[in-house]
Symmetry: C2
Subunit: 386 residues, 2 copies
């Protein structure tokens, strides 16, 4: 890094999305326009800053930048690392030593916490550092933003996949498929299954509602009275009345959160040991956040725009904020961007609204359909149903 | 069904593919051209014939036929039913009663067996019935055809998904993902992961090679010396030295075959109980055969063509055969169609060639790349790798 010029660092935190690279694209293009000289990506998120491991993003040609927006996951890597007070000091030392004046962190609520700590430390030691958060998460669980870049594409993936699955289970008699959908504590992504362009037979279970085995078996029994197959969509984060995960991998992530997984298999065993129904599970997992072919166009545009806006805000003197999306109109969909304090986003989770879940706890309301439809981009493909 | 006209029935057997409806499209269009009056689809395969449950395909508009080719799974349904001698008699009775003169069965090796029995019975009782098999299976395990319609699209899905997964596991440090791929006894589909447009770190396990736990753990240990993540692709059908499935759902299908599933989770437990590596599993399952967005164009065209050819062959007096694909040239890819005896395909499985598997049993050769590349259609998307 050239220490004689004012430098900029962008980093990615947490799980990648199908459009996190679009935000990176936006950051780099705007930083070039604003004539920031040194434009660097921290390799593997905050770990890259801690270890002085950077990639010179000025090396990218305009053709490579375009390719970046169609590249899955995070091109500069990411990490899950909870930073302590000592880390914050090392980070600041490294930023000062490299004459870094702009720091952009693209991530979720944990990353906004990291961002907030860095901004506070810079202010405390009176170092002029512009720290701006860029929202991102397929979970859509950030406060103070209408929705999060990354969610629209992951939601499109789930909606399209559910529609295809409904066609498949209808093809073969006596067939139940349980689709396990990512989402630690919030059901936004699983709820997107309801958008599937298909009049199929479906039950949706979100982590906001306590999972009850007896009720579940009753739901399945009723739903199986219809003969056109059944898709059960289950959020990996569903929990019992004691708050215990139904599917628990036994693993903890870098922030100490338990990693969920396997809920669909647990539910399948419940069904097969109580009924004579043929049941199987599908768990696309990471494929759902990495799919470029099902990237939502509006999501990719918004992701690019929040990247651009983060740079503009910092160049104009702003710091300590996250870029947030404001929904201006639903039909036709339009949005604007504003800034919100990092502290109002950090370490909080915006759950799926209980009032958007039906009384039986197995489907979601039209309010959600109206909320989510514009975010998934182009109309879903239509199928022939005989 | 109008019994005063010569009628035609088309039926689907076994698991659907992303292009089985394209074959149906081909059959219907060609039957109309050939002025077959009654064009019917048996609902849920041979069960529809047994129960006289048919859909009048003449009802479909040309716009609906186009939509059919972009509709996932089987629009007229399918089944998994082993037919006995009594069934064959009922089938023939129903066909005769409805004045059905053409019977097309689109399926895999089990369906060709059904087809063969119907053809034999018709001949025995001297009923002029033209019985033609249309090949289909994502497993690509049919004898006497270069490859099977349905395989190219499923292979494209696996190749694209693996490429996206390689990007994802590279994004976060210490990350292993195990991708479980369909395929009861043949590794053709899992092998398609090797086409992933990515220089990533990958191990592939096919059912043709006996799975050995100790060797597997050694493979993983060696592969993890590289720092860019690891994708382990495992065919759901891998078995130990005693022929026991590593992942066994405990379910048997209509043909008495054990249904595999869960191999990836078993392998993940092996890794996590022996190493300190972070490991997770993805099992797209049915999504891999239902994905229309990753349909291979060449696969869709071939599927349409075998449907057309089946009708032409029958109209010209042919019976008792399956349409088969002959690869004429690899670059540029071209193919022709011929017919092969149903008996030469029925109840046999074409395994992945052992000579196309490398010595360590964890990757496949360039011969496979050359074989498979034309089948998956358009070039795979390119990604930016920094």
């Amino acid at each position: 890094m050239n220490k004689n010029t004012e430098n900029m660092i962008v980093a990615h935190g947490g799980g990648p999305t199908a459009v996190i690279n679009s935000s990176l694209h936006g950051v780099v293009e705007e930083a070039r326009k604003c004539q920031i000289k040194g434009i660097y990506g921290a390799i593997n998120g905050i770990e890259g800053v801690l270890n002085n491991n950077f990639y010179d993003l000025n090396r990218l040609t305009s053709q490579e930048l375009k390719l970046l927006s169609r590249t899955p996951a995070s091109a500069i890597g990411s990490c899950r690392r909870k930073i302590g007070n000592d880390d914050v000091k090392i980070i600041l030392n490294n930023l000062i030593e490299n004459n870094v004046r702009y720091f952009f962190y693209n991530g979720g609520n944990d990353s906004m916490d990291t961002c907030s700590k860095i901004a506070a430390q810079a202010e405390m030691i009176n170092y002029d550092l512009r720290v701006v958060g860029i929202p991102k998460t397929i979970d859509n669980d950030l406060y103070n933003t209408d929705h999060c870049p990354g969610y629209g594409s992951a939601a499109r993936y789930i909606a399209v996949s559910t529609g295809e699955l409904l066609c498949d289970v209808r093809s073969l008699p006596i067939h139940i498929s349980i689709l396990e959908v990512m989402g630690r504590n919030a059901g936004w992504l699983a709820a997107a299954a309801s958008l599937a362009n298909n009049s199929g037979n479906m039950l949706i279970y979100l982590p906001e509602i306590v999972f009850n085995k007896e009720k579940f078996l009753e739901d399945v029994k009723c739903a199986r009275r219809r003969t056109d197959g059944l898709v059960i969509v289950v959020s990996e984060g569903i929990k019992d009345s004691k708050g215990k995960l139904i599917g628990d991998t036994g693993i903890k992530d870098g922030f100490g959160h338990t990693v969920p997984g396997g809920a669909a298999d647990v539910l399948a065993r419940m069904i097969s040991s109580n009924f004579d129904f043929k049941v199987r599970t599908e768990k696309p997992g990471l494929l759902g956040r990495a799919s470029i072919s099902l990237q939502s166009k509006i999501d990719a545009r918004e992701a690019y725009d929040v990247g651009v806006q983060a740079v503009r805000y910092a160049i104009n003197g702003g710091t300590g904020k996250m870029i947030s999306i404001v929904r201006e109109c639903n039909k036709p969909y339009s949005y604007s961007l504003k800034t919100v304090p990092l502290d109002s986003v950090a370490e909080r989770e915006k759950k799926f609204p209980l009032e958007w879940i039906n009384e039986n706890g197995t489907s979601v309301s039209n309010e959600f359909t109206e909320y989510c439809t514009p975010l998934i981009g182009d109309d879903l493909p239509k199928y022939l149903v005989l």
